[in-house]
Symmetry: none
Subunit: 264 residues, 2 copies
């Protein structure tokens, strides 16, 4: 399980932090380090000094040009985020992240990336929006900025605890209660949830539109609408999201109507 | 509660470790640092550099000649220990330590010391035997030696979690497990999850299609794609669902292309 977790460091400036992160990762029994666009030499002597014997992690780390390349094979991408964003995103605590791991990694094909940003500015909004969820390490609000390697230490520690619980069965309760592999992630937002009625209007609109564009044949429905219902209902759409989705359907229908109204 | 916990570092050699420990302590909202017989200057510039703004912890730290003096007023002394000792001693895990804190510190007169040893040799047997209990941070048995500040980070993190749980009147478990108001729902399916790369292809395809149908203007993106990313990423799409969604986009594009190819 620990071998399926990749630590991704973006734009790191200080080689010492890469070394210290490598040490923390190796200490916790993880082995996959990826560096995206490092702003220093990961083979700097300071990196090896701080790695303090975990040089193998630095030597086997891969360097990528961008985040997408570093996490392309990952089934869950979680970004470490210190700040509350203007657009709320699914958030997990480090402990909740650990509790999800056994199920998230039940398939040997699954890969998780834990993504850490720059020492000075963290992750950009674009990078944060590439993540399924954000993880926030609780800190003193008056002094909130953790050292990069310290943040890596906390999250990899939670990974190790979760792995120990899953292999020893010592805390089977926790494991039994951990979320299912495809459990969606929650967002905490002031936007009200869509009501059942609003969702039903959406599904009506969706089915009509899919029929208009020739993707759906109500006479041969197979499981299409059932799958789409399941997808959108488990997502717990809020009202603004529903308005966007309905706007897309209306714009789609306009295009098809334009086509239809023109002579062949 | 956090103000009743003292971090005691014995015989530290590297001023950088004192600075990094001070930063971790301040990050987690603790404020009491004691140094016993340091083997370096705690006011060294390297200490202040690694403290990264937590200089107040270094400035207010007290230096003692021996452990007994540093913990004389403490009602519980817990030593961080990497090794199993010949004489078994009460052991707690970091999490068990956190769980004890609210009870141990219920009286405002109570003080707890968490004691950390030298970078090279840890705590001596005499020092370990001055402790009520030992705490062991689980590590990779092949690479077990944590950096001093990393060990301080893990234990103070557990202290902070315990304090947060005690102030909300819940246990750490229930805090971690209480679902957010908009928590999505899980499905249990054998269908493999979509990878990051597959999702990125979908988002590319989605953005192009929304542009084609005139719903999206990449020059004035506002938060449209961010909102759609958040929606579909938190849903944890499986591969079949992703194929359906891409099929819908392709069918939509066909309609708009039909429109475009006709003369006006």
């Amino acid at each position: 399980m620990l071998g399926q977790i990749r630590i991704v460091l973006i734009g790191t400036s200080h080689p010492g932090n890469i070394g210290a992160a490598a040490r923390a990762i190796h200490n916790m029994g993880l082995s996959d380090l990826a560096l995206v666009d490092p702003r220093c030499d990961p083979r700097d002597p300071e990196a090896h000094s701080r790695a303090s014997g975990a040089d193998i992690l630095i030597e086997t780390s891969r360097v990528h040009d961008d985040l997408g390349e570093a996490v392309s094979d990952c089934t869950l991408v979680v970004g470490a985020s210190a700040r509350a964003r203007t657009l709320p995103w699914p958030m997990v605590t480090p402990r909740q992240l650990g509790e999800r791991l056994p199920h998230e990694l039940a398939s040997s094909d699954s890969r998780i990336a834990l993504v850490f940003g720059r020492e000075d500015t963290g992750l950009t909004n674009v990078e944060l929006q590439r993540c399924h969820a954000h993880v926030h390490i609780p800190t003193n609000p008056d002094f909130a900025s953790l050292n990069l390697a310290a943040a890596v230490q906390v999250l990899t520690y939670e990974c190790r605890l979760a792995w120990m619980a899953s292999t020893t069965g010592a805390t089977t309760d926790t494991v039994a209660q951990s979320p299912a592999p495809q459990a969606p992630l929650a967002i905490d937002s002031d936007e009200p949830l869509a009501t059942h009625e609003e969702l039903e209007h959406y599904f009506d609109h969706l089915e009509r539109t899919l029929t208009d564009i020739g993707f759906h044949d109500p006479a041969k429905p197979r499981q299409l609408m059932a799958r789409l219902r399941r997808l959108y209902q488990r997502t717990r759409l809020n009202r603004m999201e529903l308005n966007i989705l309905r706007g897309i359907l209306t714009a789609t229908q306009k295009c098809t109507n334009h086509g239809k109204h023109r002579p062949n």
